[in-house]
């Protein structure tokens, strides 16, 4: 069987299978980046070719996490989507957003900060796209009420969403994938990433003050409009709201304890989603299930198989050898290269396929460095841990670099355009790129100090 150890670390034979898998992978990536064909279709075609050419046996693609679909990721994503789909109609997100604007007393910069923090916190627990899809319309409403340009608020929220999503295992797809394959639990993400994300948020908000703090002035009578809004009117279904919040609380406690209790995160999320489906009393689950973002889910499925193909034929192994040679086996250098390279790569290409490719590469590298170790002894080697955190920080924070770097950015730009306020690629980058470089620099400084200087 092609387990991790069998496919990793050995000499690579560049046979026909090697080239077929490499070509399928590269051509698929080129199409995904060019966006000429929808990425889900590309990933599924690529994956099917990997099977048709027998690069992977179907059993490997469907039943072996090391080479095929990581069902932990799939079920976790679907379950969290279901929870949000069931929560959304209660109006809880609009409630939180209107409440935030009122707590900000109609003061523009105060509202911007509160919206950013709320967006970051919700993004840490739910997916970023959903978060901005719910916060952005309220932002546009508040901006109209205050007669302000909504663009600075929207850009701030997209950036905050990507920063907040980095904080937890479930916050961002790259973290979900890293958590699953590196067998890192929810609390390990909290211990290692949440502290730096809090620091990054403070730095980020300071920069936002610098960028936008001055231009934001509002007449007192306009502030009154916001103060007169009653957030309670946003709540459409108080009974379902109570059920949703109870289930969300159970799920969060479940995530906190999953490592201790020996559950995978997907088990926790699936329990929560199915419980909420039951409590919702819906007679027609197909309406709820239809709202799951199946294109994203099938993108993941295709991608896992696509990457599995190049893992099996040894391309990943070859690349990891090159990376180790380039950094001379120096782990600090490797950690920094992974962090910065991930950031710039994720600023321009989807960080999901990038991270899906990097994870087996890092695992292979670990096999080369510590050939005698297996399982968590290998995956959680003290010298390997900073590389995982560096990958997560680089890939997630890197998404802030450009308008196409993260799904949240794409959503915000689209919504702004629909509201008649076009955010050009350059305008987004003018804010996003400096924020990305500074936040990644802060994050890499943290990784260096915490893991290499202090050795925590």
């Amino acid at each position: 069987m092609g387990t991790e150890s069998a496919v990793a670390g050995g000499a690579v034979t560049m046979d026909a299978a090697f080239w077929v898998a490499t070509v399928i992978f590269l051509v698929s990536y080129a199409f995904i980046i060019s966006e000429k064909i929808h990425k889900t279709i590309v990933a599924l075609v690529g994956a099917s070719l990997v099977l048709v050419f027998k690069i992977l046996e179907q059993g490997e693609a469907f039943h072996l996490e090391a080479l095929g679909v990581d069902w932990n990721v799939i079920v976790l994503l679907v379950s969290m989507m279901l929870i949000v789909i069931l929560m959304r109609p209660t109006g809880v997100f609009e409630y939180v957003a209107i409440k935030s604007a009122r707590v900000g007393k109609g003061e523009p910069f105060r509202i911007m900060v509160i919206f950013a923090v709320v967006t970051a916190v919700i993004s840490a627990l739910l997916d970023n796209v959903t978060t901005v899809l719910l916060i952005a319309p309220v932002t546009l409403l508040i901006a109209d009420a205050l007669e302000l340009d909504p663009v600075p608020f929207l850009i701030t929220e997209a950036l905050a969403s990507n920063i907040g999503g980095t904080a937890t295992l479930i916050g961002d797809p790259p973290n979900i994938m890293i958590g699953s394959r590196a067998q890192l639990d929810f609390m390990q993400f909290i211990y290692n990433l949440t502290p730096i994300i809090i620091i990054v948020m403070v730095v980020f908000l300071g920069l936002m003050k610098l960028f936008f703090g001055r231009g934001l002035k509002v007449r007192p009578e306009l502030k009154e409009r916001v103060l007169r809004m009653n957030e309670r009117e946003a709540i459409k279904d108080p009974v379902m709201l109570k059920k949703s919040l109870a289930v969300l609380a159970i799920v969060i406690v479940g995530f906190v304890l999953h490592g201790f209790l020996g559950y995978q995160p997907a088990t926790v999320a699936l329990f929560g989603a199915s419980l909420l489906l039951l409590l919702s009393g819906t007679k027609e689950p197909h309406h709820v299930l239809a709202e799951v973002e199946w294109p994203t889910i099938f993108f993941f499925i295709g991608l896992f198989i696509l990457v599995g193909g190049i893992v099996k034929v040894g391309l990943i192994s070859w690349l990891s050898t090159k990376l180790l040679t380039a950094t001379g086996g120096n782990l600090l250098a490797t950690t920094m290269v992974v962090g910065w390279f991930s950031a710039f790569a994720s600023a321009f290409v989807d960080n999901i396929p990038y991270v899906a490719t990097m994870i087996p590469l890092i695992i292979d590298m670990a096999h080369q460095l510590w050939p005698d170790l297996q399982g968590t002894a290998l995956l959680h080697h003290p010298d390997l841990m900073p590389i995982w955190w560096s990958l997560a920080l680089g890939a997630c924070l890197g998404g802030n670099g450009t308008a196409i770097g993260a799904s949240a950015n794409v959503i915000v730009v689209g919504m702004s355009e629909r509201a008649g306020k076009r955010i050009t690629f350059i305008r987004f980058m003018l804010y996003g790129m400096p924020i990305m470089i500074i936040t990644v620099a802060v994050a890499m400084l943290y990784v260096w100090i915490r893991y290499f200087v202090l050795g925590w």
Binding site: E94, A136, L141, D144, R225, M229, A234, K236, M415, A419
Partner: protein, 166 residues
Amino acid sequence: MSESPRPPREARDIMESAPPFLLATDSVRDAVRTMYMGRAGAGTEGVPGLVVLDAGGSLVGLVSQHDVLRAILPAYMTMVDLSEFAWDEMLGEMAARMAVKTVGEVMNPDVVSVAEDAPLMECVDLVVLHSLDCVPVLDAAGKVVGVVYVRDLYRAVAEALFPQEA
């Protein structure tokens, strides 16, 4: 009377000839004024819809009161339910913002029309099928020669049921 009065049967019998029209490049402000002023002397106030023509006089769309109302509704209010949070002056502010758009931006570009000799039932079918406020009537050369309004179709229904009161 050489001809006995017969109930209207075709589009030309009830259409408004030489109807007011708009160009796609006109502002929505113009559209609102024209619709508001339409039929001013006819005892009915305003028309619910207008045909939109291009520079060559060809039909390119329809614009209705409904289209204008949709255009003043901000996109974000259609994304999530925020209607409770509107403020008192909001309609006026959004109307002012919308008024500078062009008719081409807010019109319904799915052009639907009938011939002069189209049976009234065809007009009813199109009105119901496409949720129209009016149906343009074209001559054989494809030029707009009239407009059938919903209320004229409705009058035809009333007259069919109560001929003596017509």
